[in-house]
């Protein structure tokens, strides 16, 4: 039995301790906003916050998460109105949208640690987030906009 806190709620999971958090979230907790894109830490689609820092859910073993605080896209803001989400809407960032939960979680973690990131800091923090639709230019603009507001 693994106990952890997901989006502010205590959860007890009787699952294989080797299971990556990604599948526990998607298949057992119904939190499908966190996406599977590669399973090997290459795409960033599965990004969540682990005790406030960005982490790849496909690489987090449930067995290592006892007592940890996890935030997913669904829990970033109670009304989906985090400043990063607002900037994403204002800049019309998403195309297909599949990478965007991960992009937003990555950007929110970046801004929490670095409130006014430079282009180079954005590149460094977001390099692991692939977008096959090519929304990078707007991701960058939206991060800058969120940093302003």
């Amino acid at each position: 039995m693994i106990e952890l806190v997901v989006n502010g709620e205590a959860r007890r999971l009787d699952l294989d301790p080797d299971m990556p958090l990604l599948w526990a979230l998607r298949d057992h907790l119904g939190l499908t906003g966190t996406k599977y894109g590669c399973g090997i830490a290459q795409c960033g689609a599965c990004t969540v916050h682990l005790d406030g820092a960005a982490a790849r859910a496909c690489q987090l073993r449930l067995g290592d998460l006892a007592g940890k605080r996890i935030t997913t896209i669904e829990g970033l803001h109670p009304a989906g109105d985090h400043k990063v989400q607002r900037a994403w809407v204002a800049q019309q960032v998403p195309q297909c949208g599949f990478c965007q939960s991960g992009q937003i979680m990555g950007a929110a973690a970046l801004l929490a640690a670095t409130p006014k990131p430079s282009d180079a800091e954005i590149d460094a923090a977001m390099a692991g987030h692939l977008c096959r639709c090519g929304t990078y230019q707007r991701v960058r603009a939206a991060i800058h906009a969120a940093a302003q507001g």
């Binding site: 057992h28 090997i40 896209i73 297909c96 949208g97 965007q100 692939l130 090519g134 991701v139």
Partner: protein, 690 residues
């Protein structure tokens, strides 16, 4: 004996792909709009207030647009809502867009199938939606006239209300929708004049964006049904080689694995209580493969070369199927509703009419989601285990199983007069046929059928070369070929536009001036070229260390010109800026056109710089993004888009035409920077140090 066919086209008029497709087979424009009236009999799209085949209007005034086109990121659903809201006279907020169950009015002639392709999501659907909305408007007004006992001509419909100005009485559209649905549709409804449009032509925000920033949009992989099991595919790893057998015991030993279901000779699906268990089981299963493998055909004598490419949408392919009695339901992020329906019917052993297809959001498509193999497999598994099942292809299978943009090689030769003017051009390419795998019947009609995609953007180029001959040689290979965003344009623009640059260099001409001369007869295309050149500062000094390259291409009725600005420092290439000019005819949503140009540049640049699928012993060597890198944030250039319109030119394609010019514009800029002529992709395989 190898089956090579030499095909010759004397000139551009003979083989315009879109036209050829329309006349002989897909994917082309139908000759006229199909009926907007609801077909007789039981409709799979039935519902209260279905005023026309394309529109349902609820008693609460909500308007549901039924469309054949999925939302895969291209913004089409928002454009559809804009068109209908304007033509019908309702607020945009009252409109929702839903992908229709496959049915007559949503299918294209002559193939009689419901699907999305060839950048037609707006250009082909717009006339149908306008007509349907205008018809709906007429019958709503007529129903209100009957209710109020006044002549229809004395009523106006705006903002969702039908008003009798003389008496001040009014009705909401929802109040008369059911009555209107019973009225006959006018054959020639009055269309709103352009001056009346409030939404079409405006950069209206996307309807699906808020949900996509909250993790709330439901993609195929997010579908959840009561009692559903998760399955993942493990398929034969070698192209063209059938599974000879498998050992399921190690998979069954994994906690959570429920079953291992064979998928014909393609492989197996491991079914489990969650995806993790299914993935572990799939890893444990041992698949035995037939020994004999065909080798890829080698093409020699090539001047230019491009490799095979994968679509790699970020959401891997999947389908969820529930079978109940003699009926089945499928949830699929698909571009082709009719093929999913047929595939599920086959896999589930039910009649096609008994299958409902729910089209979800797609996490990218790019042509990949015209493949429906996963739908049949999901149905086979659901049938075998007697439970609802979602079958997902893991990323490794997504890369391994083929359906690639086929590799091509191309030789070009130009004839020049004494002044260096181009008097003739010969273009000869070789590669696998996309149509051969996409619609085998089309290519099987005879011994020398031209794949309409093979010379796309070549036979129908607006350039005038003088004498012009284009040829395509069909080769065979073990992996399947498929439509990949911009299809033949993806390789042909690279060949032709780089070669024109070579001609310019060889004759001491400016590459822009050379193209100007080739388009001198065509003011619309010339203006596109000129806009890209002028807005990019062509002819003026570039910022220090930067160099420019230009390219032009037209597919799906939208000419696009691009100027890339690059630097090469100590062998390191950086693409700083790409200026795009597009004339896509009438514009429904300029915000989406801009977004599609940005996405197209990223897509084209990703392929130009990085991407290649290679085979070894019949198997794909790249299984995930570590071995198949795609464009990353730090490599993304600034994209500057200029949208041109030409009065009287209908809506052109937007999703694909921005892709073809990227690779040649960048390669030509590299030549300007280094003097190195790169004749093969991906560009980063070349050493750019001096």
């Amino acid at each position: 004996m190898d089956r090579r066919h030499l095909l010759k086209a004397a000139g551009a008029a003979l083989l315009v792909p879109v036209l050829a497709e329309a006349q002989q087979a897909p994917p082309g424009s139908p000759p006229g709009p199909p009926p907007t009236a609801i077909p007789p009999g039981e409709s799979p799209n039935a519902g209260p207030g279905r005023v026309t085949a394309f529109l349902r209007i609820g008693a609460d005034g909500r308007v549901t647009v039924l469309t054949p086109i999925l939302e895969m990121g291209q913004g089409t659903h928002t454009a559809h809502a804009q068109i209908v809201a304007d033509e019908l006279g309702v607020p945009l907020s009252a409109v929702t867009v839903e992908v229709a169950q496959p049915e007559g009015p949503f299918r294209y002639t002559p193939v009689n199938e419901q699907y999305a392709g060839a950048s037609w999501g707006v250009r082909l659907i717009q006339p149908r939606l306008r007509r349907a909305a205008a018809q709906a408007r007429a019958v709503l007004v007529e129903a209100a006239a009957q209710r109020l006992g006044v002549p229809a001509g004395s009523l106006t419909l705006a903002e969702g209300r039908i008003t009798h100005a003389a008496s001040g009485r009014s009705l909401a559209v929802g109040e008369v929708a059911e009555a209107a649905a019973a009225l006959p549709l006018p054959e020639q409804p009055r269309l709103q004049p352009a001056a009346e449009r409030r939404l079409v032509g405006q950069p209206v925000p996307r309807l699906d964006v808020p949900a996509k920033t909250r993790g709330a949009a439901v993609f195929g992989q997010d579908v959840r049904l009561p009692g559903m099991l998760q399955a993942v595919a493990k398929l034969s790893p070698a192209h063209g080689a059938a599974m000879a057998g498998f050992d399921a015991a190690p998979a069954r030993a994994v906690r959570g694995v429920v079953d291992v279901v064979p998928l014909g000779t393609r492989g197996v699906a491991v079914v489990a209580t969650d995806t993790w268990a299914a993935l572990k089981g799939a890893e444990a299963v041992v698949i035995r493969v037939e020994a004999a493998l065909r080798a890829a055909a080698r093409v020699v004598d090539a001047t230019y070369e491009v490799p095979a490419l994968a679509h790699a949408p970020l959401e891997t392919d999947n389908c969820t199927v529930r079978i109940q009695g003699d009926a089945a339901e499928a949830w699929a992020p698909t571009q082709h509703q009719d093929w999913v329906r047929a595939a599920v019917a086959k896999g589930a052993g039910v009649a096609p009419e008994k299958v409902r297809v729910h089209t979800t959001f797609a996490g990218g498509a790019f042509g990949r989601r015209l493949m429906v193999e996963v739908a049949e497999q999901a149905a086979m598994v659901a049938r075998a285990v007697g439970r609802p099942v979602k079958l997902t292809w893991p990323r490794e299978e997504e890369f391994a199983q083929g359906y690639y943009r086929p590799a091509h090689a191309c030789r070009l030769r130009a004839a020049l007069d004494a002044q260096g003017k181009l008097t003739g051009l010969w273009f000869r390419s070789a590669g696998q046929s996309v149509m051969g795998d996409y619609r085998p019947g089309f290519m099987a009609r005879g011994p020398a059928i031209l794949d309409p995609f093979a010379l796309q953007a070549v036979t129908d180029t607006p350039y005038r070369f003088g004498a012009f001959r284009s040829e395509w040689v069909r080769t065979e290979g073990p992996a399947k070929s498929w439509l990949w965003r911009s299809v033949g344009g993806s390789q042909n623009a690279f060949f032709l536009e780089c070669f024109l640059d070579e001609v310019a260099a060889a004759t001491g001409q400016d590459p822009y001036a050379l193209r100007r001369a080739l388009l001198a007869h065509d003011p619309r295309r010339l203006r596109v070229l000129q806009t890209a050149a002028e807005t990019s500062g062509w002819g003026t000094p570039a910022p220090a260390g930067r160099h420019r390259g230009i390219a032009f291409c037209e597919i799906y009725d939208s000419p696009v010109a691009q100027v890339a600005e690059v630097s090469v420092e100590r062998g390191t290439l950086r693409v700083h800026r790409v200026t795009v000019a597009i004339d896509c005819g009438e514009v429904v949503n300029p915000g989406q056109v801009t977004a599609q140009m940005e996405g197209s540049v990223a897509w084209g640049l990703s392929a130009a710089l990085h991407e290649a699928v290679t085979l070894r012993e019949g198997r794909t060597e790249q299984r995930n993004f570590d071995a198949y890198p795609i464009l990353r944030m730090e490599e993304a250039p600034v994209v500057e888009t200029h949208i041109l319109t030409t009065p009287g030119v209908p809506v052109g394609g937007v999703g694909e035409p921005g892709v073809p010019p990227v690779a040649p514009a960048v390669a030509n800029a590299i030549f300007a920077a280094t003097g190195k002529r790169l004749r093969s992709l991906p560009l980063l395989q070349h050493d750019l140090r001096a």
